[in-house]
Symmetry: D2
Subunit: 443 residues, 4 copies
């Protein structure tokens, strides 16, 4: 297979919706029906799925204990730039056959780094031109771009938090260009994931200095965004650890705290990856909910980890319950646009068939589609939402509650209230009741 060929996924036809398909008819959606209207919008607008370029087109099936297992038809020609272009064509074929409307990318996975920054930028520009053509042909859009500031050895001690100002400068130069090409592709967001912004050992690290530098870096990004007229949303993606022992962007609340402290909260939202959330010791849906409630949920890297493993497995989300929790929050905030559900997932190293790429994405899309249907029913029904509100009714309905809510109560007044009114009534939290009701919407 090569650049001159027309097709990389030979024998695979565009994936169709067929709710009656048999259990082992795998190249079919049983749940995802993109134009079906759910709560007033087509499914695809609620779900805004994106395929990620790095795992799906640059993943080679290697891990820390083993070499590449994948043998992809687009990685065959000898020349790096030709391969880059073949790969891009294969990717657009994949996006199209799968029926997703978005993709996401790192600068370095879409085009190879050159000997010099000039050569690197030239390579990038050349591939970006092809991407624009393919976008025009297919209608596929860019959900977000980002810069890979972690793979090159120069970043081993951090990028914006590197002890060496020269490395900081290199990272700045790279992000500048990455923002520009994302803008060029019509990217709807731009993501910062602090791959090596963290520490390996507190013994050799000045954490405060490094965090101050990180803030300085992000301020420059905000400025540059304005300068180039990029209107996309800037996003930060939290992760607690890996590759470093401690990543500065630990979890949603740590990042929101950082943004507030350094005055960056108006300029950024968050891109939440549930596998990172669980690595931080939280429930799968915690960060999604937590930042949504503060108006800070921008986008989601919809994957899953494995709760018995301590590293980032980036698996395809196949658990209806988890996806339902996410969709509950997404529906509650009225959708994710301009963000989306990016599949930051990789097929297992052992899943070496080309078909496995399709099956994995289809399984995840069906899982989210079913979660959307189920949660739409929960919202439609209103019963569940009312039950939650009723728990807090005293803050709307009693004098003392209203004063607390308004911020005008004092300890003395509340003390007097208790002297007069004594013990509160005991009220069951009814957790199991909420679980059973939630399950009934899922069944």
């Amino acid at each position: 297979m090569s650049a001159t060929s027309n097709e990389f996924f030979v024998g695979i036809k565009p994936i169709k919706y067929n709710p009656q398909a048999s259990v082992d008819d795998l190249l079919v959606f049983k749940q995802y029906n993109q134009d079906e209207i759910i709560l007033g919008k087509p499914m695809h607008e609620w779900l805004r799925f994106a395929v990620c370029y790095w795992h799906t087109f640059r993943g080679i099936g290697a891990d820390m204990f083993g070499a590449s297992t994948f043998d992809r038809p687009w990685d065959q020609s000898g020349n790096e730039m030709l391969i880059a272009k073949d790969r891009l064509r294969a990717a657009f074929e994949f996006f199209t056959k799968l029926g997703v409307k978005y993709f996401t990318f790192h600068d370095r996975d879409i085009a190879p780094e050159g000997e010099t920054i000039e050569q690197t930028e030239k390579n990038l520009d050349e591939v970006i031109q092809l991407a624009k053509e393919l976008q025009k042909q297919t209608g596929i859009k860019c959900l977000w771009g980002t810069a890979n500031l972690f793979a090159n050895p120069r970043y081993m001690n951090g990028a914006a938090t590197n002890p060496d100002a020269h490395v900081f400068a290199y990272a700045a130069a790279q992000v500048k260009k990455a923002m520009e090409v994302t803008h060029e592709l019509g990217g709807e967001n731009y993501v910062f994931w602090g791959g090596r912004e963290g520490y390996m050992s507190l013994l050799n690290t000045d954490v405060r200095k490094e965090l101050d530098h990180l803030a300085a870096f992000l301020r420059m990004a905000v400025e540059h965004k304005k300068k180039i007229g990029f209107k996309g949303q800037l996003l930060i993606e939290p992760k607690p650890k890996e590759p470093t022992k401690h990543q500065y962007d630990y979890d949603a609340q740590t990042v929101m705290g950082f943004l507030n402290y350094y005055g960056l909260n108006k300029d950024f939202k968050l891109n939440i990856e549930p596998n990172h959330t669980t690595m931080a010791g939280h429930a799968y849906e915690h960060d999604v909910e937590m930042c949504s409630r503060y108006g800070m949920l921008g986008s989601i890297d919809s994957n899953t980890g494995d709760s018995s493993l301590g590293w980032d497995t980036d698996q395809f989300p196949m658990n209806l319950r988890d996806c339902a929790f996410v969709m509950k929050t997404v529906i509650a905030q009225g959708g994710l646009a301009p963000g989306g559900l990016n599949f930051d997932c990789k097929v297992r190293r052992e899943s070496t068939n080309l078909q496995d790429m399709f099956i994995a994405h289809i399984g995840a899309m069906d899982c989210f589609a079913l979660a959307l249907r189920k949660m739409a029913r929960l919202f439609d029904d209103k019963k569940y939402g009312i039950l939650v509100q009723q728990r807090y009714a005293s803050y709307n309905e009693t004098d003392i509650g209203k004063k607390i809510e308004a911020g005008v109560a004092t300890f003395e007044e509340l003390h007097a209230f208790i002297k007069k009114n004594g013990e509160p009534a005991k009220t069951s939290g009814e957790q199991e009741k909420f679980e059973v009701i939630f399950n009934r919407y899922l069944d």
Copy 2:
């Protein structure tokens, strides 16, 4: 409410099956239809649910940070023995209204400890007589009994593994009686959970000596079982930690290894609690599957933990996916009898309504019933099982595979085979395909 009263759960009627019940009609089964035939047996035979006495009737809603929150109508009379009997009557009312056929108990939660061992045994005998009467009246059976060898301060440094032989002797005296009363109630199994059989610190512990003593203790139990003519299955319940830092019965494989080493493997099977399995770092279903495949799965404490918490939360199992994994193994081994699915679960400390006890059990029973239905379909269909078998076909179908399977191959012969035949073909593990198919049976 007291011993003279006829009803403790006033206003709650026997729980019925009604698949059309509305989402918030909670005192109803929507899935559990006890006499419905599934794969040739009624649901209740597959599921063999048991209510546990300790959490459900002795739980007081206390935790390490707070006092009791529960206010139960059967705990009102002043006298300990009267309360014990009221509580037992309440329990049988609960079992009956809920529609489970089994209960499980610790010696010390069914009757209070006295000043002396004689008094303690007298208390126990008195309550056991009432239990027998209530069993006769209701038809409720005893799935298993066990001795509480962890709550009394005398066991703080262990029971059978205590550094003091006098404590070992006390534990033996207690288990002797607990086995006898379990036998008297027609218990179908007897369980050993090594509550404090473990260490808090290696610095003050001789682990080998303690494990030798544990084995000696279990041998005496086997002997005593024969002596009294008890035909029930002896079971060991693994747990990795809590209350001790390290429990000797860490997980299924550790226990199976211990039983083999000390020659006890014919006399014991395992009672697996998934919350313990996940605390040991395994997937929810791991221990269930692992000991089933070695013919050692005797019974299940069907509860769940919380994957983001590091302690035993003993929550009601409400996750269809988890329950389906368990039922897959249970169906594969043809059922659990004489074991069952014991709800070693407690309503949350905040769930203070009497009704919460019913709702929690109903939710868990419905979850397992639905899991049974879904997995029955998977077995009925055969497609899934065949896909797994096909992965191992070479061991049945090729010469070299058959020799390996028969244990007659040698390194030299296999070396020669490779010299002749070279590299094996690459075969995808297709994990995502298996996940999607499994999901389709769940949807």
Copy 3:
């Protein structure tokens, strides 16, 4: 032993410093020499040890699986208030014999709750008067007080974050009084630990509403502090989980972010407990260092957990390396005053001898004293500090570094710099070198 007796710890004399004591002479300090001058201050000023009242005088040796094992001479008289006073006298005897200068307390562990809030406050006032007398007699001071807002069933669904405004009011009434009595005892700080400020399930919780209420509560506390003229430092103690599934004050950075967002950052500092830090997935010393570098480290609950357990074990800190990391940060910020090192630790449930209370505190105090000595040598020597600074030298010594540091660089300028200067040099992070040097100061 009773209120009329003069001594509770019979046979135990004041603990002396004797560096030559034999290995098993345990009622002796081998390292802690309170008046020895280290880096210009006596040891006791660097260390400011406090004994905590709840674990050491209210702990009963119970856990979730077992009843009380402790049999304390001060818990013998029948009347609750007499016991409370005996216990307080025993405590002051303990503080004095041990040679610590501070204690910490919860309102509810120092005096029993009454039937009404009036009775409760009367009990508290009565015991506080005795405490003041004992303080005068002994010179022992109060490091901090706090309110127990988690043990009473009324707080089961939270205190300041309770869905019921009536409970919020109760918590306010209680904190009002607790702040007042802390002020009366000359407390140098006042601590908020959000025992049940968190959620058990996202399904029944409005997290945003609850956090807004928490902020409102803390604002009232700040106001009340001013009103009563209390000059002590207000402190928040983070914890990630337990008793709730998710505590809102997850870790240091989450709390700092919360304080900033709600405009409370000038009024509060943090009280860090390393056992909570490790439960949040961080290194032992992480939160201490992180909040120190933002000027937010107020005090430390100097205990340790067990890295293989997932719950709060509150063990005595006996690990030199951990204590050394903490003291490194404490020395770097010039000390902890008005905060201190509070032993939020409990002897193991199995450590039932009265002597064990002394041995545990002595072991921890010696461990910190040795850590102080070792880290003083590290600071004195300056070599280590210079090595860390040198890693960041480029930000002080190069033009581009100075501009970044000053916040005046732009992406365009840095891009131009890279075009001109190319790749940065590769610089080893030398983690192992830092570890070896640190070890050499510890040996």
Copy 4:
């Protein structure tokens, strides 16, 4: 630098023992004095350090998020076999300068794999000849060899547990040769680490079949060992997870159980890696102690993990307390021979200086040497050992204890004993006392 050169570590002289060296004089041992007699044996006999070939000479400073950072002088010539030989010469220079007496290796890291098995074995033989010459020149010995059955894509679904018999055969062919070359180098042990012997998903796995195959494989290895006259000890190295989700050789007790079940317990001992032990949820020293007490501790991969991280970090052991726990067990069993302390450790990816390799090993060797000294004092003194024994005295000194120990007591007899003797006395576990005493030996 190349094969024609005489020296790779230019400017580094053999590392000497100098206890007076300054804190930042890093190419010096401050503790490890190889010929110093400790408890009757020279230090080097107690410690039997080995350098591992894979991390130290094949590690390239790559991780899952970044490319190689190391630039080694022995990896410069273009030809794979020439590089292999240069690398080996560099390794022997390193072993010699460092002053360790042993090395360990995988077949595939010492010589490159060829196109065919014939070519691969030829490559291996050629490098092994050079290794033998270098051994003769330097006196360096081989502690153990092993086969890499995880890196090549053919093993992605397992080696001995692969669903395909052809892959099983390939693994057998490879181990056959690896055992033979280990024998040729005078290896004192041969290790099996089940790199991919485990499962990624229970959904596509027949665990029983795979474990039966694993046992069959190991039986063939025992047979082959006899056939070739290899007298070294066979060892299995447990690991709980990574790269697979669940490794069959989970921890020490799982492996001991497996060996017993399949009748292999006489033929194998264990090689314990503490980083794996902590990943399995145990204390650092747990597996070492546990298998030592059953006579199954064969060797140790002396490294450390990071307790806040969930993956294998393979760091150099620099924590005195951890090393002391290990040495306590090693001294108690009289040494490790024919096993040793293999540094299965890698310098951090950021530690790019050649010197970092020396500093890391020196730091670890000093740490173990100091631990040996401290623990020798603990054994010499006898006080600690006696305190532990005294806890169990009742089993030697009372009638009932002796009967239990002898396995002749019955439940009935023990029941009668309790009726006669009543409650046991309460005995403090004194954990803190043991901790303080242990610390005093460490200080």
